[in-house]
């Protein structure tokens, strides 16, 4: 083709730098009068045959586009940290402690409905999974935690989840009896054991005597 190399270069640079697709008229304005921009573009298309990018005509105007077969290579995975909502964390905790459990049971325990969004988010974390169906009317799905859950929270097994008394011992659950007699002797023993005997001061606080 008898197209001037430099005209092709100009069209190439113009298309590259333009923030929007360029019409042949626009290209013609930048080229000498006797040059047909269609010839120039035909040469440019030929030049880019088989390359990773190519000039393409969209709605009658020209632009550079990356080759469609390379779409996968142009994807980048970004990990973004996201926080679980309080409702989601609580639901997850209840499922973890009470599994296998149904959504209705979780709702009963929490006293509020579990939104579909909450379950979706928890499914997305990969920490909960359907475990089966309860053999009760309606055969509701039961939920449990996954191996991924154990890995994320650094637990060997579900048995490693601290029990209620251990939660009290760590102070996460209030150790103060809301009503007298909350603590029976057995509970006190468990607390003492959980504290490994190092909590003399703490224990005396819980002593009712």
């Amino acid at each position: 083709m008898s197209v001037d190399r430099n005209h092709v270069r100009i069209a190439e640079a113009l298309l590259f730098a333009a923030s929007e697709p360029l019409s042949l008229e626009r290209l013609k304005q930048r080229l000498p009068d006797d040059v047909d921009p269609a010839d120039v573009m035909a040469q440019l298309v030929a030049d880019y045959q088989g390359r990773g990018v190519a000039p393409v005509q969209v709605a009658g105007r020209w632009m550079f586009r990356t080759a469609p077969d390379l779409a996968d290579a142009l994807e980048e995975e970004r990990v973004s940290e996201r926080r679980l909502s309080r409702a989601a964390v609580e639901t997850l905790a209840i499922i973890a402690y009470h599994q296998p459990t149904t959504r209705a049971e979780v709702e009963e325990l929490r006293g509020v409905a579990v939104s579909k969004g909450t379950m979706d988010v928890l499914m997305e974390t990969g920490w909960i999974r359907p475990r089966g169906r309860r053999q009760t009317p309606g055969r509701p799905v039961t939920w449990g935690t996954t191996d991924e859950f154990l890995i994320h929270f650094g637990l060997e097994s579900l048995g490693d989840l601290p029990g209620i008394d251990e939660l009290k011992a760590t102070g996460l659950l209030s150790a103060e009896p809301r009503e007298p007699g909350l603590f029976d002797a057995q509970a006190k023993e468990q607390i003492a054991a959980a504290r490994g005997g190092a909590g003399d001061n703490g224990e005396s606080e819980a002593e009712p005597t």
Partner: protein, 266 residues
């Protein structure tokens, strides 16, 4: 010590420069400070700045300021300071150093000024070179409409075991304990029970008796015993308020005694 460190040519050029000063009158506002003006004058010497004659430059500057002064041009203080300093420098250059170790010699001061002018000149040139380069948006362009690399977001959930346990603990706490309440209540010796027992026993014990004596005698569990003590005291206080009993405590934390209320007239 008598030798002057300055080439004699500078003396000869002293006069012509003063004349040149009057010729050089320009708006001082075009200069960014005395150093800028000095650099301009220095370049006027048309030699490599490394070979600049500071003595001659001092004369040029002073003459320039003087001529500007004659023309009643307002001169900023820092120009006058520079002129004065250069006049001083000139005198130091012409006179032998009195105390060599005391301060910078005239030649050293001159060398520093020359160095500063060279540095400024170098940066001025660097700036020109920078902006003389082909620049983005002027001579070359980057992609006008980058398609962007498609970002696939994968979420990593920020929730650790502590969050999980705290949530469960909070949940449990909001629910209250799910154990049957009657288990707790059996341990409690109620104020009603104490009132009933106290009323029943007061008749049998007419004189001052320790509060302990009114406690149920079959209680061994320390909690219930403590509960009974508290309830019995409350019951006694309530009865005292009703005027049914009298209460006495000899000292703080001392034993508490209770007896039936006697008639005032007794």
């Amino acid at each position: 010590m008598n030798e002057t460190p300055v080439p004699s040519t500078d003396f000869e050029e002293d006069q012509p420069d003063a004349e040149q000063g009057t010729r050089l009158v320009v708006d001082l506002g075009a200069y960014e400070g005395p150093l800028d003006l000095l650099l301009d004058l220095a370049r006027d010497q048309k030699v490599d700045l490394a070979q600049i004659s500071i003595l001659r430059l001092a004369d040029q500057f002073v003459a320039f300021i003087e001529s500007a002064h004659r023309l009643r041009i307002e001169i900023a203080a820092d120009y006058l300071v520079m002129a004065a300093w250069l006049a001083y420098l000139k005198s130091r250059l012409l006179l032998p150093d009195p105390e060599p170790d005391e301060e910078l010699s005239g030649a050293e001061m001159a060398a520093r000024l020359g160095w500063q002018l060279r540095r400024l000149q170098a940066m001025r040139k660097a700036g020109e070179q920078l902006f003389g380069r082909a620049r983005e948006g002027q001579e070359f362009f980057r992609r006008g409409a980058p398609e962007g690399v498609r970002i696939l977001r994968r979420s990593a959930w920020d929730c650790d075991l502590y969050d999980l346990l705290r949530a469960y603990a909070a949940h449990r706490e909001s629910q209250g304990d799910s154990e049957p309440l009657k288990v707790r209540r059996t341990n409690v010796y109620s104020v009603e029970q104490a009132l009933e027992r106290l009323r029943r026993l007061l008749g049998a014990m007419p004189e001052w008796s320790s509060l302990q004596a009114y406690l149920p005698n079959n209680v061994t569990d320390p909690f219930t015993r403590r509960s009974a003590t508290a309830s019995t005291l409350l019951a006694a206080l309530e009865m005292a308020k009703q005027g049914e009993v009298e209460i006495r405590q000899g000292r703080t934390f001392g034993p508490i005694y209770v007896r039936n209320r006697r008639d005032e007239t007794d």
